[in-house]
């Protein structure tokens, strides 16, 4: 009666590397990767609010960092990830409603997500660049 519960060795699915990359699997993995990446953007958002609510020196140090090369790379990375996660998320919500499960539709919406997120991110970043240039930073 006092035996510890036996450890159940449940099977795991084969490793990802054995599969040929497909639009379905690659986009699914990207949704997770961008989701995890964007979570780290919340640290940046918190720092922005903490410095903005503190004083000018604090905020300007943060703004200088964001205007530098690392800050700009972060903006580009988070913007691309955000547009992808947003577009891909709409596709996931449509699946949750039961729409678009058949393979031809799924392939089509997959490529639509890729095009929309790249197009959206490029337009958005150009817009930011124009604003930044006009403001002289």
């Amino acid at each position: 009666m006092s035996q510890p519960p036996r450890k159940v060795e449940r099977p795991l699915s084969p490793h990802l590397q054995v599969y040929k990359p497909q639009i379905s699997s690659v986009l699914s993995i990207l949704h997770r990767v961008t989701g995890v990446g964007l979570s780290f953007g919340l640290v940046l958002l918190t720092i922005f609010l903490v410095t903005a609510s503190s004083n000018a020196d604090c905020y300007n140090a943060f703004a200088d960092f964001m205007n530098g090369i690392i800050g700009r790379l972060l903006i580009v990375g988070f913007s691309v990830a955000m547009f992808y996660h947003l577009c891909s998320g709409i596709r996931h919500l449509l699946w949750d409603l039961g729409w678009g499960f058949d393979v031809p539709t799924m392939n089509k919406t997959g490529w639509m997500v890729v095009i929309a997120s790249i197009g959206g991110a490029v337009c958005y970043l150009m817009n930011l660049l124009i604003i930044a240039t006009a403001a002289g930073v």
Binding site: P5, R32, G35, V36, L38, S39, L42, V43, L45, T46, F48, L49, V50, A52, S53, S54, N55, A56, C58, Y59, N60, A63, S79, M82, L86, G89, I90, H92, L93, D96, Y124, N127, L128, I131, A132, A134, A135, G136, V137
Partner: protein, 132 residues
């Protein structure tokens, strides 16, 4: 009425009875974040290259502080649920998983409360939050 044996329950195997709530909260926050994220992308474009005083007065008005507060609430919860799923999927060592989930909760609630508090303090009291 439960169909599980007392032994199964005491070993803690099987459903924890909160998976559906997790699933639904993930979707609810996702739907709320559709407009809020678009708003947030616009908001970021409003902060670029602005003087400190302009950023502070931008953040202090209600019609900016309220959607930003809602965005913080939804996005931190959405991130918590998503990261929890990732940890539960890929971390198989029970002890490591438990510590990572505890750390995740502390980080999410710690950062989230700090962000919301800073925004609220800025709107209600003004600057001087961490350093005068």
């Amino acid at each position: 009425m439960t169909y599980r044996t007392p032994l199964g329950r005491v070993r803690g195997l099987g459903s924890a009875k909160s998976g559906t709530k997790h699933f639904i909260h993930q979707r609810f926050t996702a739907v709320a974040l559709l407009p809020l994220t678009i708003w947030m992308l616009w908001a970021v474009s409003q902060w670029i290259g602005k003087e400190y005083e302009d950023v502070v007065s931008w953040l202090s008005v209600s019609y900016h502080a309220i959607p930003l507060g809602l965005y913080i609430l939804c996005t931190f919860l959405h991130a918590k649920l998503g990261l929890q799923t990732v940890i539960e999927d890929y971390v198989h060592c029970e002890k490591k998983k438990l510590f990572m989930l505890i750390f995740l909760n502390m980080a999410i609630y710690g950062l989230g409360f700090t962000a919301l508090f800073s925004l609220a303090r800025l709107a209600f009291v003004g600057t001087g939050n961490f350093a005068a």
